[in-house]
């Protein structure tokens, strides 16, 4: 087990060196990524110049949701985001090359394509999250401190599962990028705001059906110590761990089915 881990770390290290070999482009990407995502934050701030409350929450509280969602998403994007190139792997035969090596297929693909250029986004997201926590008047307790660490991590695991599950669709339809993006990037945007701004079936589907409400909204409420306007209990904030595990199991099943399908169709 330790040996296998060492091999993957070596693969990830090689990927890092490969990306660093394009030095200028690496640093430009790193800086560019940090600037581009600034626009999202600006959107939130601009909205609050027009309205005092959004879905019942003030700007400081919304920024906790926003920061949590961004931290979770960018962590997932760093490690797993490149799986959206699945269709290229299928088309270029990368997948065949991976299948003839004595290692797991998904870990190899992930280790071969960690997006180090997105480190800038991760750093930026973590800073936003930390700053939002300090501005939000959180009644700190030991369990809230733990949750502040666990919530972005389980959110990241949740998004990782989504990336993998949606990328797997490429096994059936090679041109499936848009659907995958709608779920991953759409999910990120959904979780950046309190779910009370959405309504009806849309909220039910995304927040509860697809689980996005447990990335930022419920953990955020638990951190802020605010009761849910929708009336659900506050321990639901810890539900993010459970929801992440469920997402991983579902994604693993979809992935295995996808690989089996690929091996029987070869396309």
């Amino acid at each position: 087990m330790g040996e296998t881990l060492r091999i993957y770390l070596q693969l990830i290290g090689a990927q890092g060196r490969a990306q660093a070999s394009y030095r200028v482009s690496f640093w430009l990407d790193l800086a560019g990524n940090a600037i581009v995502v600034g626009a999202d934050l600006l959107t939130v701030l601009v909205i609050y110049t027009q309205v005092p409350k959004l879905g019942g929450f003030g700007v400081a509280q919304t920024l906790v949701f926003f920061g949590l969602a961004l931290a979770a998403f960018s962590l997932a994007d760093l490690f797993v985001g490149n799986i959206e190139r699945m269709k290229t792997y299928v088309r270029m035969g990368t997948l065949d090359g991976v299948l003839v090596r004595p290692l797991g297929v998904l870990p190899q693909l992930l280790a071969m394509d960690v997006g180090f250029r997105r480190l800038g986004r991760v750093a930026y997201a973590l800073v936003i999250f930390a700053v939002s926590l300090s501005y939000a008047d959180i009644p700190w307790t030991p369990s809230r401190v733990v949750l502040a660490v666990v919530a972005p991590l389980s959110g990241a695991v949740f998004f990782c599962a989504y990336f993998v599950a949606t990328a797997t669709v490429a096994f059936w339809w090679v041109e499936s990028g848009e659907l995958a993006n709608a779920l991953t990037y759409g999910g990120r945007d959904f979780t950046s705001y309190p779910i009370t701004v959405y309504s009806g079936w849309f909220r039910k589907l995304f927040a509860f059906g697809l689980g996005f409400g447990f990335v930022a909204y419920y953990p955020g409420l638990a951190l802020l110590g605010i009761p849910d306007p929708l009336g659900f209990p506050s321990w639901l904030g810890w539900g993010s761990v459970l929801v992440a595990l469920i997402a991983v199991m579902v994604a693993a099943t979809i992935w295995r089915t996808g690989v089996r399908h690929y091996r029987s169709t070869g396309s």
Binding site: Q10, R17, A18, S21, G93, L99, P102, R263, S267
Partner: protein
């Protein structure tokens, strides 16, 4: 020892054919249609066929990439798909058209990574690498990023990469495709040497018949997913009646009738005569005795001709 045992191997693909704008029809196509293949340890087997004959599909089923629709496959004693990882340690695979190397890193780094992936012990790795470096002249580009290598250099790197874990079987899918003459010679020379040592079984698909003539003691030809020939090159020539040619040039027109068993006059310009023969000796004696013979040359039968005739034969009518 038998290292590959394949019986009744079949692979079907479903293709959707567009009938009208909206209506599409599903059709099942058998890319590999009942292939039987037994390969003994140390054999050097050429696997031939026109584009789309099912060569790569067969190779993918032997290496554990694709799951057969039907049939029995055993490679190194393993069933490839469920036992993919165990099998992967015992085989090497080179895909001519795609790389197994780390594109942006020096060639040396790929070898280090493969050492880790296959968990090759230090001394074994060093010994294998040393041998490949010597035989394939890698030293001048070991520190060059793979993306900057020429195709020939890259292919030498790919061969090394596939052999570092000392596989029992080496599968090569078009290893000489796109290479220049010198690189082709280098690759062939290396494979010939590897084959001569006798401990590595080599299965090679190619379109380049020179590869086959130079390397393979046995060729399996498939067309439309079926094996149409399995045997030596000599068998193939025998079966399709391809014969050597004798080209004789004379100072003055040669007009004597030649009536020998197994000799056919193919063309004559008076001073140049071309014969198809089974044996050269008796004809050469007659030609030398009866005229002003200036020059005599013998041309080996062209395998291209034989193979192209084989491909043109409708499936199911031969073999």
């Amino acid at each position: 020892m038998r290292v590959i045992d394949v019986r009744g191997l079949r692979k079907e693909f479903t293709v959707r054919v567009r009938k009208t704008m909206l209506r599409r029809e599903k059709r099942v196509v058998a890319a590999v249609d009942g292939v039987d293949l037994r390969v003994e340890r140390g054999e050097l087997l050429g696997y031939l066929g026109p584009n789309g004959a099912g060569k790569s599909t067969t190779l993918k089923m032997l290496t554990g990439v694709l799951h057969p629709t039907a049939g029995h496959v055993s490679v190194c004693g393993f069933t490839p798909v469920p036992q993919r990882i165990k099998l992967a340690r015992r085989i090497g695979v080179v895909f001519g058209q795609r790389s197994q190397l780390w594109w942006d890193l020096p060639l040396r780094d790929s070898f280090d990574l493969l050492k880790a992936i296959y968990r090759v012990p230090g001394e074994q790795h060093a010994a294998q690498l040393k041998r490949c470096r010597d035989l394939l002249d890698l030293d001048s580009f070991m520190d060059t990023p793979v993306r900057q290598l020429s195709l020939g250099q890259r292919m030498r790197g790919e061969l090394t990469a596939s052999l570092l874990h000392s596989p029992e079987i080496l599968f090569l899918d078009e290893p000489t495709i796109g290479l220049d003459v010198v690189s082709k010679q280098a690759v062939r020379g290396f494979l010939a040497e590897l084959g001569a040592r006798g401990d590595t079984t080599i299965v090679l698909t190619t379109h380049d018949l020179a590869d086959i003539e130079r390397l393979c003691s046995r060729i399996v030809v498939i067309d439309h997913g079926k094996v149409v020939h399995d045997g030596s090159i000599q068998d193939l020539h025998l079966r399709y009646g391809s014969r050597r040619r004798v080209i004789a040039d004379f100072d003055v027109a040669f007009t004597y009738p030649v009536d020998l068993p197994g000799v056919v006059l193919e063309s004559s310009t008076g001073t140049r005569l071309v014969f198809a023969v089974d044996e050269v000796g008796p004809l050469a004696a007659v030609l030398a005795a009866n005229g002003s013979l200036r020059d005599l040359s013998i041309a080996e039968p062209e395998i291209e001709d034989v193979i192209s005739r084989l491909y043109q034969t409708p499936a199911g009518q031969v073999g």
